[in-house]
């Protein structure tokens, strides 16, 4: 127990140090958002308890998936720190579990879980009494499932097969969540399936409702998960293996060829890149194919384009993930690094995207002009914007040989990585707009425009990236070395951090929720209206009278675009400052 208390105290100390300055503001925003979600959950506790069970299922999903997509979750206390102390695995896991209870996310979750007490009070004094242990056990289940999930993914990323498998599973899950309306539609119901109440996330509520086995089941689950985590921790403390097969010699004979050869080898050997590639592929296929469940194949041809956009989003920190290896590029100024990386990126992604697109579009029989316009435009846009974003919005990564045994954690700056990925998704998607419009209006002119804008993006954005690398190489290297922005550099992230709290919250909402009016309520709803699919689901436009359907959908799309534009406007600098050797006040160093 002493170990557990000490570890919890360490966590408190670390949190106290990290919750200063801009980070505190960020945490404050997160806490506010969490409080809103927890409040919503508590509100449900006063109403239909089946809805409450569903809400807890969503909380569990957040605990499970959040860390996997956000760079490996909370790693304030790393198991490696304690490896020399000779603790037993179970002792270590228990200690880390106690430490994991300290933090913002558990705090918010326990607030949400007091819904169990509310439900208990409504049902009777005995039920209220059961609610207290149920609440704590339920939180332990959340935290432990999250830890075991991350550990399993980490273990999966130690072999190529595991990396590919994990990428497939995670990509499919995320795509399924994005297309959850299909599931609701397919089930033909708006109510909650009864199975939800029997998920582990609902056991606490079952206990409160008087199901006798629920508390023992929770205790058993906590013990099993603790054991599993302890076992996984001992595996984690071993060295990370890299895939070690097939050492084909480099046959290139020119500087450009050498860069391509190096990149291609990294793409095939780095298991994190294997994971990202399969993740993007599974996401594209899953997202486009899931409407097949309700007999609608109209989205299937977009599997290839979605794959390209997702792959670009995941690769957006191209230079950051290589860390300080940038020094070699700086010492060989003649070589054109960006062009080589572009070529390698294309030769890995383009064949997959082309095959996927042709096959899927052939299955549905079209619309060929639109799809063939999107594909080259997106491939060019991605291959141009990925290096550009990674040099202009660099998120300093941890050098590969210094990373802890959590392969998902390529940087200490989760927020920066997430923002960068979203920026890349949006920017790459935007490069296809001219080609898509041309295809809609003029049919086969679309693919020609797509090829033209694709080539232009590849060449133009690549040239910009190359120039930036040349002019700001030492600053980028210094950022990578120290993990902070060079003095004078004003990134989106720092600008975001420096916004007043109110405006920052607005920008958060704009970026976080702009997708809802734009895509489901705007674009998808318009497609549904156009196809006469007015079986009302959750698209508002299908509820209103026929004359108003398009205006409502368009209105939502405009609202979505306006939210993104508003958020961007808030974050953009209000006056342009030329950065250079001008010494900046030291307070700017994060």
């Amino acid at each position: 127990m002493a170990v557990a208390v000490t570890m919890a105290a360490m966590k408190v100390a670390a949190l106290r140090h990290s919750l200063r300055g801009t980070r505190a503001q960020l945490a404050g925003t997160g806490a506010a958002l969490g409080a809103v979600l927890a409040g919503g959950t508590l509100y449900l506790a006063f109403g239909d308890l089946d809805l409450l069970a569903a809400a807890y299922a969503v909380w569990l999903l957040g605990w499970l998936l959040g860390p996997v997509f956000m760079g490996g979750g909370d790693e304030t206390l790393r198991p490696e720190y304690f490896s020399l102390l000779g603790l037993k695995p179970r002792e270590l896991a228990t200690g880390l579990l106690f430490a994991a209870f300290v933090g913002l996310a558990p705090l918010v979750s326990i607030v949400a879980l007091t819904g169990l007490v509310i439900a208990g009070v409504r049902l009777g004094p005995g039920n209220a009494l059961v609610a207290v242990p149920a609440m704590l056990l339920q939180l332990a289940v959340f935290v432990l499932l999250s830890k075991v999930g991350v550990a399993l993914v980490g273990l999966g990323l130690r072999s190529r097969l595991g990396a590919i498998g994990t990428g497939l599973v995670n990509g499919t899950i995320l795509a399924g969540l994005g297309q959850i309306w299909v599931v609701f539609w397919a089930l033909g119901q708006t109510g909650i399936p009864t199975a939800v109440a029997y998920l582990p996330s609902g056991w606490g509520l079952l206990a409160v409702r008087g199901v006798w086995w629920a508390i023992p089941a929770l205790v058993a689950l906590v013990l099993v998960l603790l054991g599993a985590w302890a076992a996984l921790l001992t595996r984690r403390l071993g060295a990370t293996r890299t895939s070690g097969s097939g050492r084909r010699p480099i046959r290139a004979a020119s500087p450009g060829g050498a860069i391509v050869a190096k990149e291609l080898r990294t793409w095939s050997r780095d298991l994190v890149r294997n994971y990202q590639l399969t993740f993007a592929l599974a996401y594209g296929v899953g997202f486009a194919a899931s409407p097949l469940l309700i007999g609608w194949n109209g989205m299937l041809p977009y599997a290839g384009p979605i794959f390209v956009v997702m792959a670009a989003g995941l690769a957006a920190n191209m230079y950051g993930t290589d860390g300080t290896a940038l020094w070699l590029t700086l010492m060989t100024p003649g070589a054109r690094d960006v062009r080589g990386r572009q070529l390698a990126w294309l030769s890995v992604h383009a064949p997959i995207a082309i095959v996927l697109t042709v096959v899927c579009t052939a299955i549905t029989g079209g619309p060929w002009p639109l799809i063939l316009a999107l594909l080259p435009a997106l491939l060019g846009g991605a291959v141009g914007l990925v290096p550009l974003i990674s040099v202009y919005g660099l998120v300093p990564g941890t050098d590969p040989h210094r990373r802890a045994n959590n392969p998902l954690r390529t940087s200490e700056d989760d927020g920066g990585l997430t923002g960068q990925a979203y920026a890349a998704l949006a920017a790459v998607a935007a490069t296809a707009v001219p080609a898509a419009l041309a295809a809609q209006w003029f049919g086969w002119a679309g693919p020609a425009i797509g090829v033209a804008t694709g080539l232009l993006s590849w060449w133009g954005f690549g040239a910009l990236a190359e120039r930036r690398l040349h002019s700001h190489g030492p600053e980028l290297l210094n950022e990578m070395r120290t993990g902070r922005k060079a003095t004078g550099a004003r990134s989106i992230q720092t600008r975001f951090d420096q916004l007043p709290t109110g405006r920052k919250a607005i920008a958060w909402w704009c970026f976080g929720f702009g997708a809802i009016p734009l895509f489901p309520q705007g674009v998808v709803a318009a497609v549904f209206v156009a196809n006469g699919m007015t079986r009302q689901s959750w698209f508002l436009a299908t509820y209103v009278s026929p004359g108003l359907r398009y205006p409502v959908a368009i209105g939502f799309a405009v609202l979505g675009v306006a939210m993104y534009a508003g958020g961007t406007w808030l974050v953009l600098p209000k006056r342009t400052k030329r950065q250079g050797s001008r010494p900046t006040p030291p307070t700017e160093a994060l």
Binding site: T242, A325, W327, P474
Partner: protein
């Protein structure tokens, strides 16, 4: 004769801290130059600025007369650099790293292949053909770093802590290579905090303390009658000699 490396008033400030304060240094051609100083004295920062890896706030650096910042292509072709603790293309084997960098430097393919073989053999890295750099030990990383610095046959080597974590046998090999390089007219600048090593190898030495040059010149000029270590402690240590003991540890 043009100095191999000429540093004029290089200055770098990190926030409040003045890391390097207007340092001037001349490294004559054909010299073996040692840069010594305590941890945090500014050695790495100075060397990084001298070869173009870190932009100075002010001052300039020239390699054989070519300015590192205004003529980087010419200056960087003349120098081989071993930085301390930076990453490499981690998912390549040692042989692949050297092939990649040789081609990147514009060397013909057959030259690259020949030199790679020779470097791997001499530095005893040829047994690790299947091993990716990310799996290398610290000493092996130093050796592959040194190989990348030597690969394009530069006229000046700038090496940051080249002997740290390197085993004695490999260290002897590296010393032999470096001495041969200097005898053949090459110039070497290395940083270290091992005084005996600097005394053994170098003919010129500069002592860096708190971002400034505390002493510089030939080895004999700097150390005089004393050993380099005594001179160093006298130059940068505290007034009381700077040596403290742990009361509870010595029984």
């Amino acid at each position: 004769m043009t100095p191999a490396l000429e540093i004029d008033g290089l200055t770098k400030r990190f926030g409040e801290k003045l890391a390097v304060d207007a340092i001037d240094l001349r490294v004559p051609q054909g010299s073996f130059f040692g840069l010594v100083g305590q941890n945090g004295a500014g050695k790495t920062t100075t060397l990084s600025m001298a070869v173009g890896l870190l932009r100075p706030d002010s001052g300039s650096a020239r390699i054989f007369g070519e300015d590192v910042w205004s003529a980087p292509d010419r200056a960087k072709a003349l120098v081989g650099v071993l930085p301390d603790g930076l990453a490499m293309p981690e998912r390549l084997t040692g042989r692949e790293v050297l092939t990649y960098l040789g081609l990147l430097r514009g060397l013909p393919r057959d030259v690259v292949v020949g030199r790679t073989d020779e470097l791997l053999a001499v530095l005893e890295l040829d047994g690790a053909d299947q091993t990716l750099v990310i799996e290398y030990s610290t000493g092996m990383r130093k050796k592959i770093g040194l190989a990348t610095a030597l690969l394009h046959a530069p006229r000046l080597l700038v090496l940051d802590e080249p002997f740290e974590a390197v085993d004695p046998v490999s260290a002897a090999t590296i010393k032999t290579i470096l001495r041969g390089f200097v005898v053949g007219g090459g110039s070497v600048v290395l940083s270290s905090h091992v005084m005996a090593l600097v005394e053994q190898l170098c003919d010129h030495v500069a002592v860096i303390d708190q971002g400034t040059v505390a002493a510089a010149g030939t080895l004999d000029e700097v150390r005089g009658e004393r050993s380099l270590e005594d001179t160093f402690v006298a130059l940068v240590g505290d007034e009381d000699g700077g040596v403290k003991e742990l009361s509870w540890l010595s029984r």
